[in-house]
């Protein structure tokens, strides 16, 4: 376990390093710069600003300065919102994203898993067929289409839900549906196929031969085994909800970090782009580690070994 942790840690550091490096050079490869959007500034002022942010130095030097600061957890100051530290921006906007993310993932699990179970238990009956048609739709329609459709139908036309913002849980329903429609469908299909397989296993027959009720056979013996693939999917799920939120937050005008991130790229706000990238990368690495630990807790056969 300890050896595994060390190895995993080293591996994570390396991954982060690669992500940071690629992001840095890609970001600087995009033409344009942070003052593009502003009216023609006198060259002297531009020079001043460039010098202030170190943009006049060679790229390699900028890169190493950035690495050094990153190690000190100092992501610098936003180039667009002058004077605002990137760390402040993250602490202000991330909670909005986190709220939406947690709500969406809860939806994914609490709708996706029961839907999968229902399908497996009603295999080849109409309930199963219907659920699988919806699920197939779900994995093929992109989130932003769902977003715009629900926004229009349930928001504008029927006026059931507010269309923009994230003030209340109520506001979160539409964006959460848009974010979780695909993963719900995916989870439902995952659970269905593993449940169908598990129900044919010998140990399920043993459980029935012991005289356990159908409820215990399914919700204890079959479910814990069928849920394993969902646990493996949790890592990609969190990543998916996170990246999905970049678009969804923009569509629903939610002041989350995702929307801020997208804007920072078009503004060439290098420090913000870099800071948010690193933040998300670390976040995902931690989440994946948590998922691995959870996996070993649920399945005793798996040991965290080198």
């Amino acid at each position: 376990m300890f050896g595994y942790m060390i190895k995993r840690f080293a591996y994570s550091i390396f991954t982060l390093f690669v992500i940071i490096t690629i992001t840095f050079f890609l970001m600087h490869a995009i033409p344009g710069n942070v003052y593009n959007s502003e009216k023609n500034l006198p060259p002297a002022i531009v020079e001043n600003i460039r010098a202030k942010y170190g943009l006049d130095k060679p790229l390699s030097e900028q890169y190493f300065t950035m690495l050094k600061n990153t190690l000190k957890l100092d992501f610098g100051i936003s180039m667009k919102n002058r004077g605002r530290p990137v760390n402040d921006i993250i602490t202000e906007h991330f909670p909005h994203s986190a709220r939406l993310g947690i709500f969406s993932i809860t939806l994914c699990l609490f709708i996706g898993i029961p839907l999968g179970i229902l399908s497996a238990l009603k295999k080849d009956k109409w309930q199963d067929r219907l659920a699988m048609i919806i699920a197939t739709l779900g994995v093929s329609v992109p989130g932003f289409v769902v977003a715009v459709l629900t926004q229009y139908l349930l928001g504008v036309k029927l006026k059931w839900f507010p269309v923009i913002g994230d003030k209340t849980i109520y506001h979160l329903i539409l964006p959460a549906i848009a974010l979780s429609f695909l993963p719900i469908s995916f989870i439902a299909r995952l659970v269905r196929s593993s449940m169908v397989e598990v129900l044919e296993q010998d140990y399920i027959r043993t459980a029935r031969a012991k005289g356990l009720s159908e409820r215990v056979v399914i919700y204890k013996h079959a479910l814990k085994n069928s849920i394993m693939p969902v646990v493996t999917y949790l890592g990609p799920l969190i990543a998916g909800v996170l990246t999905g939120s970049f678009v969804i937050e923009s569509i629903f005008n939610i002041p989350g970090l995702g929307r801020y991130f997208v804007t920072s790229i078009s503004n060439r706000d290098y420090t913000v782009t870099m800071g948010v990238t690193i933040f998300y990368a670390v976040f995902l690495v931690l989440m994946n580690f948590a998922v691995d630990v959870l996996y070993t807790v649920l399945d005793p056969r798996i040991k965290l070994k080198n």
């Binding site: 043993t206 031969a209 056969r301």
Partner: protein
């Protein structure tokens, strides 16, 4: 008749498949007395497991008992509700399956899996049930049972898992233990230990046993009666002596010839020449006709009727029908 614990009469079981209806059991009848051990032998696909699963009402979703009756302990099992059947399974009838490696749930501890059936069928609470589980593991010869209860199936060897399965099947002191090839997956020394254990428990608990096996040596070892199955029917049954010293059906004779004379040890049944019958389009006559060296014309045309040559010993074969000779 009064003393019979289990009585199966004219059982027919089928499976619906895409290829057609599989006639898995055709008119199976036999009985078991209290405290008696019956061996069920026959080659792969002859319907041994399907018979047991029909009794337990544990057939796969596409399996159906078409007709026949199963009387257990003076109860007609087909009249019981699902709930009553649950109360019976694991309580009055225990079952052990062939493959100990896959028959235990990998994600729950042995203790958890033992305790749940004890709690379900007795009035014991969880901690009393745990105590009982420790005793059971001791009884089946698992060392340091307290520690073992907290372990998962993958931490046990095959033989140890089969002991756990036996402990589980016996946890509520069933009147009948159905053991479907309990030792096939185990190596020879472990097999011997498991069998000794079963013999021992049979004496101690006065329990009836149905032992399904390919191993005639094993049958001779613990069973008082033998049922020989072929192609979904019982071709011969009788006491162990009857079957071993006075076999009537050509298939039984074939089986016995397959045991090497030198050591009447635990040898697997060697296959008799030929293929088992097609169960989707079963032969009109005797299912064994294709492979029988003494087949006659009538064997192809009509099913032989099961007839007793003495009380408790009978076979389904035209050779014994008076008047059929030379047809």
């Amino acid at each position: 008749m009064k003393n019979n614990l289990l009585e199966i009469n004219n059982l027919y079981t089928t499976f619906r498949t895409y290829a057609g209806k599989v006639y898995a059991l055709n008119n199976v009848s036999f009985s078991i007395g209290k405290g008696e051990a019956v061996g069920v032998v026959g080659e792969s696909g002859s319907g041994k497991s399907v018979t047991m699963l029909s009794i337990m009402r544990l057939l796969a979703e596409n399996g159906f008992v078409e007709s026949g009756s199963i009387i257990f302990d003076n109860k007609n099992l087909s009249e019981l509700t699902d709930k009553q059947m649950q109360d019976l399974r694991g309580n009055e009838i225990g079952m052990i399956f062939q493959d100990p490696m896959t028959s235990l749930n990998p994600v729950f501890t042995i203790g958890n899996q033992l305790v749940e059936s004890i709690v379900k069928h007795t009035k014991l609470n969880r901690s009393e049930a745990k105590q009982k589980a420790v005793e059971l593991l001791k009884m089946v010869g698992i060392p340091s049972p307290e520690k073992r209860l907290k372990q998962y199936p993958h931490e046990f060897s095959g033989g140890m898992r089969q002991r756990v399965m036996i402990a589980m099947a016996l946890s509520c002191e069933p009147k009948l233990l159905i053991a479907d090839e309990p030792t096939t997956a185990l190596d020879v020394t472990i097999q011997a230990q498991i069998i000794e254990l079963m013999k021992d428990l049979k004496e101690k608990l006065n329990m009836s046993i149905i032992l399904i096996t390919h191993d005639l040596g094993l049958v001779a070892d613990i069973c008082e009666k033998v049922v020989v199955m072929y192609g979904g029917t019982i071709v011969e049954q009788g006491t162990t002596e009857d079957i071993f010293y006075n076999p009537q059906h050509p298939y039984t004779k074939g089986l016995l010839k397959c045991i090497p004379r030198m050591n009447m040890g635990r040898e697997r049944l060697k296959p008799i020449e030929g293929q088992p019958p097609d169960m989707i389009n079963p032969p009109k006559g005797c299912p064994f006709v294709e492979r029988c060296s003494s087949a006659m014309k009538i064997c192809e045309l009509q099913k032989p009727i099961y007839t007793e040559i003495k009380k408790g010993h009978g076979a389904a074969c035209w050779l014994h029908e008076a008047g059929s000779k030379g047809v």
